[in-house]
Amino acid sequence: MKNLLPKVGINPERIEMFNLSAAMGPRWAEICTEFTEKIRVLGPSPIWFALKARKEKAA
């Protein structure tokens, strides 16, 4: 997926894979927090902007 996403103009940093067992709750929460922050820094995706533009055009 990391190789495919740039082909449609999406930063591959927006996807990550983690292997965790069901017993690793705290680590899961940590990853979610870190990844959410990462996406927040990256900002909205080009898809979001495209959908927004379409919505505005339709309105």
């Binding site: 495919l4 082909k7 449609v8 103009g9 999406i10 898809i47 495209a50 959908l51 533009a53 379409r54």
Partner: protein, 222 residues
């Protein structure tokens, strides 16, 4: 198996963007093994095309589906409805599947792959050519190594002068097929086969004789 490689996304997009609805249709046999055109890959490609369409601001509905083999009538039955209901099809089968669909359905059928060769899975993710379907197999005389598919010059009595240290002159990464043949015949104690001069090959069974057809009269309906 037949090996294929997905076409660049831009090329696919240029073909399909004129339509309002496109079905990305996978073929889950050969081209699924090389992970280019199976039903899973068709699903991923459909998703990519939807993202592309959204960004380009083009209103096009892209769905996906697939069957086990696009080169046999029987397998189409379960997908008949969705194929008939589609404006155009982007097939991720090899060239055989694409043509077979084009013959079956009176609607645009586009190729999602470039069909590359008949090959083997050397290791996960590595596919190499082994056969050119020449219609007149010589593997019995060449120790099981094909001089037609694997020798750049298709030399029948090799090696040629371009063979150096077991490699072909076209690339240091390509084995000389005739070196492989000699090594193999030595291993099998069959070097007498190597000494036998192979006559000029009859290419009429190859593509030179035009499109080929095989009819098993004992199996085919009248």
């Amino acid at each position: 198996m037949i090996v294929g490689e997905q076409k660049p996304l831009e090329e696919i997009w240029e073909m399909i963007k004129i339509h309002k609805q496109v079905l990305v249709f996978g073929c889950n046999t050969c081209v699924a093994v090389c992970q280019q055109g199976g039903n899973k890959e068709a699903e991923v490609l459909a998703s990519m095309l939807r993202m592309k369409a959204t960004q380009e601001g083009v209103d096009i509905e892209i769905t996906n589906s697939g069957i086990e083999r696009q080169c046999e009538h029987e397998f189409f039955e379960k997908s008949e409805k969705e194929i008939q209901g589609s404006e155009a099809i982007l097939s991720t089968a090899c060239g055989i599947g694409v043509q077979f669909m084009a013959e079956k359905y009176a609607k645009p059928i586009y190729p999602g792959l470039n069909t590359t060769f008949l090959g083997a899975v050397e290791q996960f993710g590595v596919y190499t050519e082994r056969c050119q379907a020449c219609g007149n197999c010589v593997l019995g005389q060449t120790g099981g190594i094909c001089p037609i598919a694997r020798c750049a010059k298709r030399v029948m009595n090799g090696p040629c002068g371009g063979s150096t240290k077991g490699k072909c002159e076209i690339s240091k990464d390509v084995d000389c097929a005739w070196q492989l043949i000699v090594d193999r015949l030595k291993l099998l104690g069959r070097m007498d086969d190597y000494e036998t001069l192979t006559p000029i090959k009859d290419w009429s069974t190859d593509r030179a004789g035009g499109p080929r057809k095989l009819v098993r009269e004992d199996l085919a309906d009248e």
